[in-house]
């Protein structure tokens, strides 16, 4: 009798606790989340696995995370090349190409956007809403749509096969969205601050550089990060603009691993891991601000 009571009590407590979630529900939620996490992480782990496989067992039906005879040979060859096979490593060259192009693109787009977003946020001038709607409309332009005229234009300017051409092509896509994001953030900064400064005799430009810019530095960082991430792993535009091996950005570069006479998945995976680690670390580290930046920018528009 007493034992049954305890069981019933446990049953009641487990499924219908009075306050908050019952343990059963919490267990279920954790279980669901663990499954979701496994789905989201497993493909990434598989890349690590492939990168650790020795060259003779690249193709295997084993599903082990740490493969048998795990080796770092692939990493060594990606980083240092293979002098014994007279093969140089282009890995750092690709990284440097990507970095220099994307850095400049992001700098340009954030600088342009930071200034004009201020005008869109604080001034009521003619053509303001038309401009905003226009910037939104540019998001509807398919990626490949402007690529063709840009390609022809760059060809005429002799900028195909040059990093500058890629910089120009990338700046197109990131400016309008950055303006929208930053305008959304500026809108959340109270106007009173500036008005007080204006009364104290500051000029409009001074309020912008001394008040708005410092206050919005997190969102500027986010905007920079966004356009950086956008360009960092871009493949399709780069493929059209760049054809010379020494100009390749890393997405084009690691793709060559997959297209070689003998597909070298091991090297491809090792290069991927090396590239992905810093990017993901940066991303996860900044994800909190990313979220706030996104919601402020796109939501409160």
């Amino acid at each position: 009798m007493k034992k049954q009571n305890a069981l019933v009590r446990f049953y009641r407590w487990f499924f219908f606790r009075a306050r908050g979630d019952s343990p059963f529900k919490r267990l279920l939620i954790h279980l669901l989340l663990i499954i979701a996490c496994a789905i989201s992480v497993y493909p990434v782990l598989r890349v690590v696995t492939i990168s650790l496989r020795p060259n003779d067992t690249l193709l295997t039906t084993s599903l082990r995370i740490i493969p048998e005879n795990a080796t770092l040979d692939n990493y060594r060859e990606v980083i240092f090349g293979a002098p014994e096979k007279n093969r140089k490593s282009d890995f750092f060259l690709w990284l440097w190409n990507s970095f220099s192009v994307v850095m400049v693109t992001s700098l340009i787009s954030v600088a342009l956007a930071a200034v004009s977003a201020y005008a869109f946020s604080r001034f009521r001038f003619r053509g303001r809403s038309a401009g905003l709607v226009f910037l939104f409309t540019t998001q509807m332009i398919p990626a490949g749509m402007l690529l063709l005229p840009l390609y022809i234009m760059l060809a005429k300017l002799k900028m195909i096969n040059s990093s500058l051409g890629l910089i120009i092509a990338y700046s197109v896509s990131s400016v309008p969205l950055t303006i929208w994001m930053l305008k959304g953030y500026y809108d959340t900064i109270p106007v009173d601050l500036e008005e007080a400064a204006l009364i104290d005799g500051a000029s409009r430009m001074m309020t912008f550089t001394r008040i708005i810019l410092p206050l919005s530095s997190p969102s500027l960082a986010i905007a920079f990060l966004f356009s950086f991430m956008g360009g960092w792993s871009e493949y399709l535009v780069a493929r059209v603009v760049l054809q010379k091996n020494e100009l390749f950005t890393w997405p084009l570069g690691i793709w060559t691993y997959a297209q070689q006479f003998t597909v070298s998945w091991g090297k491809f995976a090792a290069a991927s891991v090396l590239i992905a680690i810093p990017v993901m670390a940066l991303f996860l580290y900044s994800s909190k601000w990313l979220i706030s930046g996104l919601t402020l920018g796109s939501v409160k528009g």
């Binding site: 789905i39 598989r46 440097w96 809403s129 509807m140 700046s171 996860l284 994800s287």
Partner: protein, 498 residues
């Protein structure tokens, strides 16, 4: 003493940083030096790129500054009397005219318009030729080396412009302009957008009414005319868009692709966000792991997933194979349900992800859904966190059920978050084909192509430039129509532009 300590404390972190960087550099050098022969990058290449890029940035900055000063003087300075007005307006007029001539010359150079040979063309090309003559002059008089002629003459021009602006500044007086500053702030972005978006767009429209292709050497020998535009349009709707595929077939697939993707992204994101949005242990841990697909660069993720769809060595087929074997084993052991299990074993099994059009489409769908859910989850989570607790407490008092609360509080309050996210999601998915390109390349037999990837193929594999331009315009019109209808229905974006 105390002051010294304070100074030390102030500069110590910086010093530590610098010291740390130097140590890091030394370690890296020691690590890489023995292998330098294998690495195809050296300081010379790095410096060359930095030089190239900074020249480019400097040129852009110089042009922007010139434009800004020019408009600043128009908005904020006014000449005091008639004589100065004539002088100032004359200088400004000449500068404006030169700019317009340069723009027309640029159009001519890139084939947007073709000027007939004659005095007008010579007049338009005057500034360009003048610049070239200046360079030649500088080289001829041995003032600068041939390689630096362009930079030197650009600097010279800037000096002349600076002098002109200084002159105008001296003879004018300040004046008040209400929205002048706004325009000054917008101008740099406006110039960028005009050059990078409007101009290519105009070019695209012109290209759509041409027969430009590889045979005509792009725009070099292309002919333009309404009949070509009509022809392109007819080919688009009745002929083959890339190689064999027909327009409406691809359009249908694109709509399917977009609808399935966005539906899964939104529902998946909503489920994850609702699961995460509650006080619990390990929340940060889950959130970190769940944004993995978003954090990993798309190129890498797509290539990794491509591997997993391999016929023999991919994860999916290994798993399917295991399941098949499992059921086959069961059917021999459990006699009672043997027919059921053997039926299962016969019907579940490895799938040819690359050869079968249906499964190829499923494979890119799986990949893109996997990639897109975290983004939506993060957006929706942000929206959920901005909803005040008080609503739920009040509803709980009134005895509302969980579902009622979700339906009547959460969903309506999420709307300002969801509307733009869904529009952008649809547009981006409609236009997003890097996943398709990297995983199936649109194959087999173009059965997994969507509109944009067909367009990319038509342009850069089949070189049908004129046709591609028309194709792009049609896609743009479709998206524009969708957005206008959607915004009319939901009334979104209004608050944003007010």
């Amino acid at each position: 003493m105390g002051e010294k300590l304070g100074a030390l404390r102030k500069y110590l972190p910086t010093a530590l940083w610098i010291g740390g960087l130097i140590v890091l550099y030394l370690i890296l050098r020691a690590l890489f030096a023995p292998h330098a022969g294998g690495i195809n990058l050296n300081s010379k290449m790095i410096l060359a790129r930095i030089r190239e890029v900074s020249l480019f940035l400097g040129a852009i900055a110089a042009v922007m500054i010139v434009i800004e000063v020019y408009f600043y003087q128009i908005f904020f300075r006014c000449p005091p009397h008639t004589l100065t007005t004539v002088i100032v307006r004359f200088i400004q007029g000449i500068l404006g005219l030169i700019t317009i001539l340069l723009i027309i010359a640029f159009f001519d150079l890139t084939d947007l318009i073709r000027l007939p040979e004659g005095p007008f063309k010579n007049f338009v090309l005057l500034p360009v030729n003048g610049f070239a003559a200046l360079q030649k002059f500088l080289v001829a008089t041995k003032l600068v080396a041939a390689g630096q002629a362009s930079v030197a003459s650009a600097v010279l021009l800037l000096l002349v412009l600076g002098l002109l602006f200084f002159l105008i500044q001296r003879i004018t007086e300040p004046r008040v302009s209400r929205s002048g500053l706004a325009y000054l702030l917008v101008i740099p972005a406006l110039v960028g957008v005009l050059f990078l978006i409007i101009y290519p767009f105009l070019f695209e429209i012109k290209l759509a009414f041409s027969n430009a292709s590889l045979g005509t050497q792009a725009t070099k020998n292309a002919s333009y005319g309404l009949q070509y535009g009509w022809q392109n349009l007819v080919t688009l709707f009745t002929g083959n868009v890339a190689k064999d595929a027909k327009f409406f077939e691809v359009l249908g697939r694109t709509v399917l692709w977009t609808v399935i993707n966005v539906t899964f992204h939104v529902t998946g994101g909503m489920v994850l966000a609702l699961l995460l949005h509650r006080p619990m242990k390990l929340q940060g841990f889950y959130r970190t792991l769940l944004v993995f697909p978003w954090a990993i660069p798309t190129t890498i993720a797509a290539m990794a997933l491509r591997n997993e769809f391999d016929l023999r060595y991919g994860f999916f087929n290994i798993m399917l194979n295991n399941i098949q074997n499992f059921f086959a084993g069961l059917s021999t052991k459990v006699a009672l349900l043997s027919p059921v299990f053997s039926w299962l074993a016969e019907n579940i099994g490895p799938v040819s992800w690359k050869q079968d059009p249906f499964w190829a489409f499923v494979s890119i769908l799986i990949s893109n859904i996997w990639l897109g859910i975290p983004f939506m989850a993060v957006i929706i989570l942000g929206g959920l966190q901005s909803i005040s607790h008080e609503y739920y407490e009040a509803a709980e008092m009134d005895g509302a059920s969980k579902w009622q609360m979700f339906r009547n509080i959460t969903l309506p309050l999420l709307r300002p978050v969801l509307t733009p996210a869904v529009i952008l999601g649809v547009i981006w998915t409609f236009n997003k084909f890097d996943v398709i390109w990297l995983i199936t390349q649109g194959g087999p037999q173009e059965k997994t192509d969507i509109l944009v990837s067909s367009m990319y193929k038509a342009a850069f594999q089949f070189y049908r430039y004129g046709f591609t331009a028309m194709f792009a315009l049609v896609i743009f019109v479709i998206l524009l129509g969708f957005t206008i209808v959607y915004l009319r229905v939901t009334g979104g974006l209004k608050s944003a532009t007010e």
